[in-house]
């Protein structure tokens, strides 16, 4: 397939402006004649649905949660970047653009990233106007903090709940449009399949999660804002309901899936504590400012941390990366933790964890200062683990928390299915191989508030639409297809629960496609996953019926799709024979474990195209050109 990114001509800082002029407009009176479906109500979905409704389009918005306010954007803690330069410290749109391209280890599209940096400024304005209570200084102006290795203070925040406040702002804008009748909201509805008519996305089939009914919804365009697929790992910082189904079903209908192996692992999460565990909880990265990370020097050292003398401890980050020490970037410190655990030096009852020790900081600064800085985090930790981090070192371990990969989109955020747009974490576009802190919120809102309202207008104005009814043969066939899948899930009637399959898949993925990957391991996984999938369809048990509120059925459907997504991730990881950003292939690293990029052969996006059941998908390539940011190697020593 020919991938056309449709990047506008001209100098990078003029591309978006020029493109906005070149795009066709729908005249205000005609907007109400068009309808748009938005799937998902997180930052991207809610802001997109509200903004399009404000313009006059008729919008239907769907989410699996009981309310659009609960989308998992709400859990983001740290902040949102914007190139406001309010701190007078030399920030600019260009610098944010530069940092993001470099942070993504040169695997993102320059034009998209520059647009993101330009729009970052408008996002903050918009959110303040909506009443988002960002942190402020006594003078009444907005406060900033530095974040994720940036050398400027450009992160805006609302305590530790920035994602929540931004989402509520977008949610309230959405609710306003619902009240005005411009958006029809469908909570507790899960998209199970897109409807394509004449090759265009013209609707979706959803399951009403309360009654079990399958519904057909038709529109002129479909926007997916369904988030990431990181729950393929089972244990992740994602909400339990997050899933890849909408994206995966679109992939199987012709949307290319780009860079599926790019998954970010966050270094500071509370480790797994038991095999009943359902979820990993993130502790803010800011803890690494004062905590020291260590493990015992000897693998068999099972003494309690307090009994291990200084000379028997290995402060491995400080040892390996003397200049960055405990503040080494996310991917680097995650991998280092994995290495020491693999050596058998992990701590805690499971041996999968490392210490994050505040003893020195408490001695140096006093308990009061530490309590003031991290009190709420310490309390959260204590609540979960029943250990007091003031006296016992915290235990942390990396966990999956974002997927940079996603459906391939062009500059207009349109996938390879005409009329199917993808925004937010669900697309692949802006973060390359590694996302910087405080950039996810920025991208979700930029896509929703300021990109999709323009590009969708262009699509609608350029396209002629035939009126459709739910009785269109394609729509009927799609419903039948979904119905068949639901029936199949219920009729297997085996012995194993969906959870047990999901857990096993997660273990395979974490083992072979997690923080460090090898050819042998990925090949191993590519053998194990199809076998597990086969067993799933022979031996899964899904209680209950189709026509009722049935959480097991919902879950089983998602697990079935994860069993396919995981395979594509491994395939992508196998065929990307280089290390870049979050993707580390052990074959491609320096002697001391640093990633080695191969810009000659892999400076491109791998966009996978579905080729049919049982066939190997086609790996299409979008070449990435770096005209503005010079390709360079990252070093943190």
């Amino acid at each position: 397939m020919e991938l056309n990114a449709k990047i506008p001509d001209g100098p990078i800082e003029k591309k978006w402006e020029k493109h906005r002029f070149d795009m066709k407009l729908v005249n205000p009176a005609n907007k109400r004649k068009y309808s748009v479906i938005v799937v998902g109500s997180g930052l991207a979905g809610a802001s997109g649905a509200a903004s399009m409704a404000e313009l006059g389009y008729n919008v239907k918005c769907f989410c699996y949660q009981d309310s659009p306010r609960r989308a998992h954007s709400i859990a983001a803690q740290g902040g949102i970047n914007a190139a406001k330069n309010y701190q007078n410290d030399g920030d600019s749109v260009y610098r944010l653009f530069y940092d993001t391209v470099k942070g993504g280890d040169f695997r993102s599209r320059e034009a998209n990233v520059h647009r993101l940096a330009e729009l970052s400024v408008n996002i903050i304005d918009q959110c303040v106007a909506q009443g988002v209570p960002f942190a402020r200084e006594y003078g009444g102006l907005l406060a900033n903090r530095s974040f994720g290795g940036a050398q400027v203070s450009r992160t805006f925040y609302a305590r530790g709940q920035t994602g929540q406040q931004l989402l509520l702002g977008a949610y309230q804008a959405l609710e306003r449009q619902i009240g005005l009748g411009k958006v029809e909201m469908y909570p507790r509805h899960e998209m199970l399949e897109p409807i394509l008519i004449d090759g265009r996305a013209r609707g979706i089939v959803v399951r009403d999660m309360v009654t079990g009914e399958l519904e057909t919804h038709l529109a002129d365009a479909v926007v997916l804002a369904t988030g990431g697929y990181g729950n393929v790992f089972f244990l992740a910082t994602y909400a339990k309901g997050c899933n890849g189904t909408a994206a995966w079903r679109s992939y199987k209908k012709g949307a290319c899936f780009a860079n599926p192996c790019f998954t970010q692992i966050h270094p500071t999460c509370i480790p797994v504590h038991g095999d009943y565990q359902s979820k990993l909880t993130l502790m803010s990265e800011s803890l690494r400012n004062d905590g020291r990370i260590w493990v015992p020097k000897r693998a068999d050292d099972k003494r309690p941390p307090g009994a291990i003398p200084e000379e028997d401890r290995d402060y491995y980050l400080e040892r390996i990366y003397p200049s960055f020490g405990n503040l080494a970037p996310r991917d680097v410190s995650s991998r280092a933790a994995k290495r020491v655990v693999d050596e058998g030096r992990g701590v805690g009852p499971t041996g999968v964890g490392v210490y994050l020790d505040f003893a020195d900081a408490i001695e140096r600064l006093g308990e009061d200062v530490i309590a003031e800085r991290y009190g709420n985090l310490f309390e959260m930790y204590e609540r979960i683990t029943d250990e007091d981090p003031y006296t016992v070192p915290m235990r942390i371990y990396p966990a999956t928390h974002y997927t940079m990969g996603g459906l391939w989109v062009d500059y207009n955020l349109e996938s390879t299915i005409p009329g199917l747009f993808v925004i937010g974490e669900a697309n692949f576009s802006d973060h390359g191989a590694n996302r910087l802190g405080a950039s996810a919120l920025m991208q979700g809102l930029a896509d929703g508030y300021f990109v999709i309202p323009y590009t969708i207008g262009d699509y609608l104005a350029r396209t002629k639409f035939e009126p459709l009814g739910a009785d269109h043969p394609e729509a009927v066939a799609t419903v039948a297809e979904v119905e068949g899948r639901v029936k199949r899930l219920l009729s297997v009637d085996g012995k194993r629960t969906p959870t047990s399959f999901h857990r096993e898949l997660g273990q395979i993925m974490w083992e072979y496609c997690g923080m460090a990957r090898t050819r042998e391991g990925l090949n191993e996984a590519l053998g194990k996953i199809p076998a597990l999938r086969e067993e799933f369809w022979e031996n899964v048990t899904v209680p209950g019926e189709a026509m009722e509120l049935n959480q097991s059925l919902e879950y089983a459907g998602r697990v079935a799709d994860f069993l396919e997504i995981g395979e594509l991730m491994c395939l992508d990881a196998l065929e990307r024979e280089e290390s870049c950003g979050a993707h580390l292939r052990e074959e491609y690293q320096t002697e001391d474990g640093e990633a080695v990029r191969d810009d000659e052969d892999y400076s491109h996006v791998a966009a996978w195209e579905y080729a049919g059941e049982g066939k190997k998908p086609i790996r299409n390539v979008e070449q990435l050109n770096f005209e503005y940011v010079e390709l360079a190697t990252r070093s943190y020593k």
């Binding site: 239907k60 619902i178 009240g179 009748g181 029809e184 909201m185 469908y186 909570p187 507790r188 509805h189 009403d208 309360v210 009654t211």
Partner: protein, 234 residues
């Protein structure tokens, strides 16, 4: 379940007054404002009553004075106001209570474990009707005399002493005053909250004021039947 086409609360615009009296918050304010009148009355009434300790002339003269104010007209204006306040207070309370009962048609199997509410706040709805019964009895007993064994028009002191000499009458009065104390304790605090009189620096003061008013009223009023029974006032 279809998508939400939002149910707009009330299609036709209502007048400001209808909207106010129709809303739960408006009704609470009716309770609070009438509550202000009733609290002031209860305080005044207690101060008047305490003149029983100054002897028959003083109390009877005070009663006479009230009856004669404004050529005997003011007392009727006053009685009308109080009657109105009580009526509105009771109406709002009833309407709100019925609404609250309807708001939870199925209760919890395990009784709720209260954390913050007080015995006083939870007994408002039982204390209220009890006080209403008491007020009616009290009017029949000491104002009009129908419920009094030896009522003498104009001799308030006699009526009080004779009335409270019956132990179970005093008992009922004491019980009612305890209920009044509880009602005031939560009522005064709640009144301030409902009228929006809240400020982080003074919020503790609200509880203190409520407690003080409740204690003073209850102790002051209870002292009279106790004094009569004890033979201190005769």
């Amino acid at each position: 379940m279809a998508g939400i086409a939002i149910d707009v609360a009330v299609a036709a615009p209502r007048s400001r007054i209808a909207a106010f009296f129709g809303s739960t918050v408006g009704r609470k304010m009716v309770m609070a404002v009438t509550g202000v009148f009733l609290v002031l009355f209860v305080i005044g009434h207690m101060i008047g009553n305490l003149q029983v300790y100054l002897g028959p002339e003083s109390l009877n003269h005070y009663a006479e004075l009230l009856r004669e104010l404004g050529h005997g007209g003011l007392i009727w204006v006053f009685r009308g106001t109080m009657l109105g306040a009580v009526a509105l207070h009771v109406w709002a309370a009833t309407a709100l209570t019925l609404g609250s009962w309807a708001a939870r048609p199925t209760g919890y199997r395990r009784r709720q474990q209260y954390v913050e509410s007080t015995y006083a706040s939870r007994t408002m709805r039982w204390g209220g009707p009890l006080l209403l019964i008491f007020i009616i009895y009290h009017l029949l007993h000491l104002t009009t005399g129908q419920a009094h064994g030896s009522f003498v028009v104009g001799d308030v002191y006699h009526n009080v002493v004779a009335g409270f000499s019956v132990w179970w009458v005093s008992g009922f009065y004491i019980l009612a005053q305890l209920a009044l104390g509880l009602h005031l304790y939560h009522g005064v605090w709640s009144m301030l909250q409902t009228l929006g009189l809240s400020h982080a620096s003074y919020n503790r003061l609200r509880t203190v004021i409520a407690l003080l008013i409740a204690l003073v009223i209850a102790i002051g009023n209870i002292s009279i039947p106790v004094a009569v029974l004890a033979g201190f006032v005769s």
